[in-house]
Symmetry: C2
Subunit: 447 residues, 2 copies
């Protein structure tokens, strides 16, 4: 159960007046995920003490890995190399890699070298895979049995397996090659003398270590699995990705999509230091300034026309703005459909066509509303006609660009969301201004 | 394994020249999730035939539930009430509710009434809970044993449990009250004569049926569970939510966040009919038109100034645009932090402060760049000063509104993302125009 406010108060109080025994006793029964919330409540000295107590109850690593990413650097700074090495050595390999990732370069060697050789070997296996690959997030300590075993032997060897909590399936290997799988449920219900060969399921769903982690996550989600084995090109078992990791991957990917569209980096959260925020957002704002000035240049071309009829300046952002919003909608729909694997290139033209048609019709409707306003408020029918035409053109373009940009990015094997937002709105701004002011210049006598 | 293109070709061919036996034989070994992809490849007659064959191999329901939501209505229309009733009757209760949800009102009674009384009872249990509550997505058919059982008895009763595939934990009840849990792994490793009371874990993580489904999902994710039991206010076990449902919930929520920001509805996907797209997006575009005209009115106030100095019209969208983008960034960061449970109201003011500071500094930088452009391109230093001041003011406001709006929406128990986008950009547009043109009017003599 999540910590109640009174529990947090009690624990904070213990750090002020209690001794280590009392603290250790108090935290012993609390889930690491809850303990991780404590860190934001403590000062430096108390944080160090909490880490020491966590080490004593063997919970330090599992608690550290649950701490929000942006808080980790500050906390890691308070822990000595020796203690960090101890903590990382006791963690599951995938979690150890995660923490090692967060360690500043200068401290890396001092933390890595003291680890025992077996741990180092396991870590190195994972560190070789590219970022966001299935291999980089798998747990290389997995549980498998030879295909010639019996159920009884499988149970006996499970009994000896140290990291039993992460075992959801028994993987069956022939030599090193993965040939089958036995769910724990089947193990429970089989006779002790049964041969594994007879109770196992063949045709195991698996991913190659070099595949994208997203692929592993999609397979687990699509086929409702609890874990998916990771193999090399010869189908030899290398490790396992469990469903809890898959949930983390999905959360990460969902944040990424949202963030890419808005030009944010994943490290930018509510409590990230302001300096980091500024540094990360600055390039995006600069890029935005660039496109905004391009749009401004387009408007500048029509300076003469605007000074003749200044009302154009008021309506000009209406045309561009509605186009930008409509283009963003098309882009989000296509991006999300790509992320959920609902769209294939062979049928992408249908999706583009639908967005263009949507743009056409919404453009007609929005254009009529805008024309109505121009007519009744400004008593200027011709301004209405120009608004109507330019909104329709711009909305068609919005549908086209909004759907094509993510598809093209995907086709180039880039992230379909990244930069799509700015590219789409820059186009609709520039075209919106150009078409609207261009029509206005052509028919300036009638305005 | 996902279907390869050649397999799809082969299956399509079977529908043209093969007989039912051949089709049934072919689809028997294919996973429902893969079979669901076939529907988009078949015509009406072939679709009906596929449903019949699926019914024969008892895979119709599990395949239908995997079909992308937007395709379901058309396919359900091709299936008779009698067959749909059969299909729904064989499904897990939570999946049955999902399909029943998609059935048009006019057909509901004809499909629901023929179900056997026990299925109807189970369905009614779920149908009573509000949308998106834990109770509405749980599976009410769960596996539990009395606290006084032995391990041997537990295994024997699991053997008799019909829906074994969804059993990840053995829930232990005293009367009806949930008192403990035994992971399958522990069941495998315990002695047959052990008492469940001695091997079970107490302090089970659970959710109340009336809680939001998101809460259940967050608990499963946070504590790395495979399933979470759903209880009533007396801690009596009502059902179970499994981790595969949790992944679905997360995908749904991630789409929702993204869609709410862009003013889209969840039904709007790449291949949704154009008429649906238009209908769903129309109100949002209309709202956008409303705010755009408000911004246009603000610009209209300065018509006189603009006709004196038309270059203002070119720079005006720069001020508003950068503000809008910066405000959207703040909003996305805060929205995502709320969704991931990283932010509490007691500390929200810190997050707001950080976004305001970020706005101030980025405003200064962007303002200086813009001022430089105005100075060097237009040789107008005073225009630069005005740009600098108005961008700074607008960016501070962007940070403030971008962070406050989602927090206020959350505080009002509304979705923090919904409408936040339009509200934030409307504010930055209107203020951007007003501040920039206002400064310009004040200092028009110097321009």
């Amino acid at each position: 159960m999540t910590l109640r406010p009174v529990q947090i108060k009690h624990l904070k109080n213990l750090f002020q007046i209690g001794n280590d025994d009392q603290i250790t006793h108090a935290i012993e029964k609390i889930h690491p995920s809850d303990l991780s919330l404590l860190f934001s409540e403590l000062n430096e000295l108390q944080t160090k003490r909490l880490v020491d107590c966590l080490l004593m109850v063997q919970k330090a690593g599992n608690t550290l890995k649950e701490i929000p990413e942006f808080m980790l650097p500050d906390i890691l700074e308070l822990i000595s190399n020796h203690k960090l090495s101890l903590i990382i050595g006791r963690l599951d390999t995938d979690d150890a890699v995660y923490l090692l990732n967060k360690v500043p370069e200068g401290r890396y060697q001092e933390i890595f070298s003291p680890l025992d050789s077996r741990t180092r070997l396991n870590l190195e296996k994972l560190l070789l895979y590219p970022q966001d690959s299935a291999g980089s997030v798998m747990n290389p300590v997995y549980y498998s049995i030879p295909v010639e075993s019996t159920v009884e032997e499988a149970i006996a060897s499970l009994q000896k397996f140290p990291d039993r909590e992460s075992v959801f399936y028994v993987y069956v290997v022939d030599g090193k090659q993965l040939v089958g799988v036995v769910p724990l449920r089947v193990l429970v219900l089989s006779d002790a003398k049964d041969f594994i060969r007879d109770v196992m399921t063949t045709g195991v769903m698996m991913v190659e270590a070099s595949s994208d982690q997203e692929k592993a996550a999609q397979l687990v989600s699509q086929y409702n699995l609890l874990a998916i084995p990771v193999v090399n090109e010869n189908k030899e078992l290398l490790g396992v990705i469990t469903v809890d990791d898959v949930i983390d991957i999905f959360e990460e990917e969902a944040t990424e999509d949202l963030y890419n569209i808005a030009g944010l980096s994943g490290e930018d959260r509510a409590f990230t230091p302001v300096t980091t925020k500024i540094r990360k957002r600055f390039p995006w704002i600069l890029l935005n300034l660039g496109t905004a000035f391009m749009a401004a240049m387009v408007v500048g071309l029509f300076e003469q026309t605007i000074s003749q009829f200044a009302l154009l300046a008021a309506y000009m952002p209406v045309v561009a703005g509605i186009g930008g919003n409509s283009g963003t909608q098309s882009m989000v729909v296509i991006t999300r459909s790509i992320a959920l694997g609902e769209i294939e290139f062979s049928k992408a033209y249908i999706a583009v066509f639908k967005e263009v048609m949507n743009g056409l019709f919404l453009g007609i409707i929005a254009g009529m509303v805008a024309a109505g306003v121009a007519f009744f408020v400004n008593m200027n029918a011709f301004l209405g006609v120009i608004l109507f035409m330019s909104m329709m053109v711009n909305m068609i373009l919005a549908g086209f660009m909004g759907s094509c940009v993510p598809l093209i990015l995907k086709w180039l094997k880039l992230d379909p969301a990244i930069g799509a937002g700015i590219f789409v709105t820059a186009t609709t701004d520039i075209t919106g201004f150009f078409v609207f002011l261009g029509f206005a210049e052509l028919f300036i006598d009638k305005l």
